[in-house]
Amino acid sequence: MELNNILIIGSMSTIAFYMAWCIGANDVANSMATAVGAKAITHKQAVLIAGVLVFVGAIIVGPHVSETIKSGIININTINSSLIILGFISALLSAAFWITLSTWKEMPISTTHSIIGALMGFGIVAGGIGSVNWVKVGSVALSWLLSPLFGCILAFLIFKIIVRSIFAKKEPVKSAKVVGPIIIGFTGFLITASLFLKTPLSENFNITEIHGIIISIIVSIIISIIAIYLFSSIKAKKEEDYLTVENIFKKLQIGTSCYVAFSIGANDVANAIGPVAGIIQDGTLSQATSIPLWLLALGGIGIAVGAMTWGRKVMQTVGNRITNLTNTRGFSVDFGAATTVLVASKLGMPISTSHTVVGAVIGVGLARGLEAVNLNVIKKIVISWLLTLPIAAGTCIVIYLCLSHIA
């Protein structure tokens, strides 16, 4: 039995690591590509930032979403506990299978959608329709509709703010030197606040909410001051020097790239380790009460390795394709998307990061910020939503039935 346990944990961890690697290679690269496309950071820097911050995000904010995937989608109590191991293995396998296939076929499906669909499939086949927590599934599906919309609205607003407060002013460069530090300070506030509010970190160090907010404010002020200092030597070459404005935002975009990486770690790590977390507790098999840290770390490392190995190539290609995204636009997209993903992570909502980024791109387009945005992509994304769930569920059911016959 002991050996069996180790075998099961080992194989599940391997599949989870593979899932995490896929997420790193595809989703991280997709989302960091805006910064690479705008030439704010090089591929190497993007990979490094992604690797480190995805890991941090996964460990600190990751548990919220993992909890949802672990026990929110299906009512584990209604299913025989011996079946759960099998079911979660099939869910992970079918999701991983779909991601491999969609990567090969270049379908823009989401890792999040696949894993949730697979879990639903398992719930239906093992415990009947009633064992799926439909209220939760409904709210997750709603968040899939809302997250691109939210990303769109945020990116629209932030770009409008940039236009109104910088481009419309008489001296754009001078305005950018004031507005830029304020926005990046605000970004810093959001990241630190998410680090210290209701996270393992704040529990370990006994940081109350008020203290967390105070720390965040201090950090954001420090970031703003650093930014002001960095920009103090920049001068406009002529009256309408938009190039210098873009250069200021190029520097700011390094900040938002970190923000994006961090929020991806927070949200996406759950897709890989959520199912494993459902059955592993301190190296033994039981219905887990909390998510062990080593598992979050495994997921975080998996995503980081994915971003570092294959993600480089993806980033390069996607980045090269979107070169018409200038720094002010890239900043708006990153900010809108990362904020949406982070808020969703805090609420424990597993959402698709790349779909949120697409929503944000459309938001900037609606704000007259982009020359041409292809709205056909929306249709493709909606179709991929509608298809991924039943397909992942179906695959999971098939794998589950096969495995249960063997076992």
């Binding site: 997709n30 590509a33 270049e106 236009v163 481009f167 419309a168 290609t317 018409n324 041409a372």
Partner: protein, 245 residues
Amino acid sequence: MLKPYCLRDIIGDRMKNESHFRAPISNTFRKKTPFNQLLDHMGKVRECVDLLGVGLIKYYKGDYKDFSELAKKVSKLEHQADLIKSDLRSHLPSKLLMPVDKGRFLWTLREQDAILDHAENLVEMLDMRHTKIPKELQPIFIEHANLVIETVKAMEIAIENIRDLVETGFVKREREQTKEYIHKVHDFEYKADKKRYEMTKGIYKLEKKLSPMNVYHLLKIVDWVDEIADHAENVSDWLRSMIAK
């Protein structure tokens, strides 16, 4: 004519040398930006009008040497511009979100292309029959040609300002600036129109001295040269309606 925008187009050329991955973000973008292509097209207009400005004046002065060469160059530029135009047109699907009205954008392009079409027709006509411009009309013909060229140049400046408009997300200041440039186009076009009236009058005055065929051709030259300025004005008018809020 308008073929549907196909994602396979993008994916197609990527598949040749890249590995597979899922990239919904890259699918939202066009490889070439429409405004840059409009500016590329304008570059062809600029080259053509620069050639025409020098060539026309030489022709008016009775120097027909190298004119066939010029006609060939203009025709080549027209063809290159046509390629840009059709590429631009065939990649603007109905679901493409642009910061300006797509119809007006295409009308701007169409009128800009008309400048090249007329320039090509004009030089070919001039090349077919070397019509001598009467000595007394030569100065006014040259003045008119210069005004037409100025009109197109003013239009180029207005179109060039699209760069700033796009960069700033069409802020009021840049729109006002573009409108100022457009006013200049109107000014030059108006002056060219006045000059054209004088030229026509001058030709009728000499009608007894000139052969009917010469009168016919002179009138035709006046009309066709002036039409270039008309189309430059149309471009700026469409540009104006394109950037209107």
